[in-house]
Amino acid sequence: MNNIGEFISTLETEFDELAPGTLKPETKFNDLDEWSSMYSLIIIALIDTEYEVTISGEDLMSISKVEELYEMVKLRMKQ
């Protein structure tokens, strides 16, 4: 994961319902029409399998934007 652009395209490929280009660093997850509890599970599993980083549903609730998620993952990858 070199930059946020790459991170976003990885997210977008997993969310089949999202048109490419929908996600921006400042996009709020809750503002997405398709947002659901299934999305949290997908994000948690994706980050676990792609980056070997564990995040919880509570972690997800504590952030709102795509860039905050990116920062969280980046920080935990370093640890």
């Binding site: 509890s37 949290s40 948690i44 599993a45 676990d48 997800l60 609730m61």
Partner: protein, 248 residues
């Protein structure tokens, strides 16, 4: 003799360091049983042991995903009159993230461990005639939730295993049953709450006519299944869900 008593019975409890297993150890010891507690975390096992009334109880620290550890347990335990399988993990993986790694992770502890432990104990003739075996299963096997493909699968597989066991060992009056539990307030519950969020969990809780379960609710039913009072019950599933599946 009181058919609900567990006096003179030795009961092996897995997952005894936490939640339902820990409470079960306490409840069955109070009903007179000698308890053998097993799990990985020795410190927490000792904490549970301290709460039990005086007796010959013992702890065996073991990781049940390790075959050697299972052999050790089989070697160390005296003859037993009951097994309570309460070790287990919950992990959520959406279908498209499932690979052999995730399957192995969950099936190893939720399915393979209880199956191999049971068969090894039977093979080494450590299970007394008239013994009772109880598996912690989940209503998720009949009502899966998103992300729960693997977890629900392990529990469905355990249900079938338990029925087969009941059939094969009926001549020795060894019984086997599963408890299909809905959400019970244990550390595992707190874990699940972290994954799906408190909000969703509270919403889910509103659908239970009697609210979420307590470890003691399940432990008391396990104690009944271990006792002679349930001697005509085998190969079945007992639903404990606070009325969740009764209807709207």
């Amino acid at each position: 003799m009181n058919p609900f008593s567990l006096e003179n019975k030795t009961i092996l409890v897995t997952g005894a360091s936490s939640g339902i297993g820990a409470k079960t150890a306490e409840v069955v010891a109070n009903l007179g049983a000698t308890v053998i507690l097993t799990a990985r975390n020795e410190e927490r096992l000792l904490d549970v042991l301290k709460k039990l009334p005086k007796g010959e109880h013992q702890i065996i620290q073991a990781d049940l995903t390790d075959d050697e550890a299972i052999n050790e347990i089989v070697k160390q335990v005296p003859n037993i009159d009951g097994i309570v399988h309460s070790s287990g993990i919950v992990k959520h993986y959406p279908v498209k993230f499932i690979s052999k790694k995730q399957i192995k992770e969950i099936y190893e502890i939720n399915y393979e461990a209880p199956v191999v432990l049971t068969s090894s104990l039977l093979k080494s003739k450590k299970v007394n005639k008239g013994a009772s075996i109880v598996f912690m299963s989940s209503i998720a096997c009949n009502f899966p939730n998103k992300g729960g493909a693997l977890y629900s699968g392990t529990k469905a597989a355990i249900n079938s295993f338990s029925k087969t066991l009941a059939l094969e060992h009926a001549p020795q009056k060894i019984r086997s049953n599963v408890i299909l539990a809905a959400m019970v307030k244990t550390p595992l519950f707190d874990e699940a709450e972290k994954t799906v969020s408190k909000e969703l969990m509270n919403k889910h809780g509103k659908q239970y006519p009697l609210g979420f379960g307590e470890p003691e609710d399940v432990a008391n039913t396990i104690a009944f299944l271990l006792s002679l009072a349930s001697k005509w019950i085998t190969g079945t599933e007992i639903v404990m869900d606070g009325g969740l599946s009764a209807g709207m």
